[in-house]
Symmetry: C2
Subunit: 190 residues, 2 copies
DNA sequence: ATGTCTATGGACCGATAGGTACAAACTAAA
DNA sequence: TTTAGTTTGTACCTATCGGTCCATAGACAT
């Protein structure tokens, strides 16, 4: 049997795409096998824990991406540099629009939070949103907001993003997501 | 065989609860049968179209509830009565917190919009959010906002609500939803 | 070339999925 | 009481689910 160039790292994005498209229950191993080009042997070699582990690893990788590309830049703003804080918040908005493909791409954490899949991955999901909110709040404080105000503003910002994904998908109207992100940027950097 | 007092209308709320809890794919006919107390015979008697029709009918009923209890009151505000508009918007917020049980209860339209279930129920889902947004926008205009501003404000409001459900569930923190609703109310009636 | 270890496809498993068929048990009109 | 029509539980169907197993094809060190 030919060895296929399929490192574990190459498989995760494809897995993520399937979970995003079908949801946890809807993603069958046969479809996963087809989409990744991997037989069950390879699949269970990479993920001995089966489907639950696949989802866990996908969430972990997405979490790591956000940590590095979204959360950390917000957290590492030098104290007192309000101007830089506004720049970083603007960059976040830009990165989000790109990542979620203007709402065409779903946030797996959001989708899982609404299903009973949530229970199995509760710590991961909770941690993701918590760190995101805290990172934004930190940036807002540096930008000059009062801490208590920053915290609720950050919560509303993330809520608005997650909701905008659902709404723009419902309306089949990607610009609606981009518009919401633009308004969010204005509001955060005001 | 004994006739069980199970009118179609009594079954729909139970069905809704199962779909909310398990999602479309996760809701199996055996669980549906158990939760409703109905055998497959009765189930297929009430819903000849099977699971797809159950979901469709559940969405239709939820849509009708929102139409009567949320959308219509917003739409029917007398033109020029800004004070009444603020009252109705406040009532909406209160009704939402009750309906979604402070975020413990999921919005089925939002959940479906994120899954590929969306495709099968696209018109229903689209219509629901569209009418909701337009109703809020109408109320905001009556309250004195500029039409263009009202429209985006209404979009953001619904997005924030949908997102807040996901966030408060993720954090397992119902007060977070109630807080978001309270801030929304302030913002809408400002 | 040989042996060792990893990687791989696919046959196979029991369980359960959604759905159909139907006879029995009911109701209501005659 | 008969009859026609409606509800009902359940046995059963096929397809597919997630998961196990294993013979074997690679890679690689000797």
């Amino acid at each position: 049997m030919p060895r296929i160039v399929a490192e574990r790292q190459d498989v995760l994005p494809k897995l993520a795409e399937i979970f995003r498209k079908r949801g946890y229950d809807g993603a069958s191993l046969s479809e996963i096998g087809k989409a990744t080009g991997l037989g069950k042997g390879s699949l269970y070699h990479f993920f001995p824990g089966g489907k639950p582990q696949m989802a866990e690893d996908v969430l972990a990788e997405m979490d790591a991406w956000f940590e590095g590309n979204i959360f950390a830049p917000l957290r590492s703003i030098p104290a007192g540099d309000a101007k830089e804080a506004r720049v970083r918040l603007t960059e976040m908005c830009k990165a989000l629009d790109a990542y979620f493909k203007s709402g065409r791409r779903v946030c797996l954490f959001g989708a899982f939070a609404l299903a009973d899949t949530r229970e199995a991955y509760a710590p991961r999901i909770r941690g993701y949103f918590q760190r995101w909110i805290e990172a934004i709040a930190r940036a807002l404080v540096v930008a000059g907001r009062a801490p208590a105000d920053a915290r609720t503003e950050a919560f509303d910002a993330v809520a608005c993003i997650e909701g905008a994904i659902a709404l723009s998908r419902a309306a089949d109207n990607p610009p609606a997501f981009a518009g919401a992100i633009a308004r969010l940027q204005t509001r955060l950097t005001a």
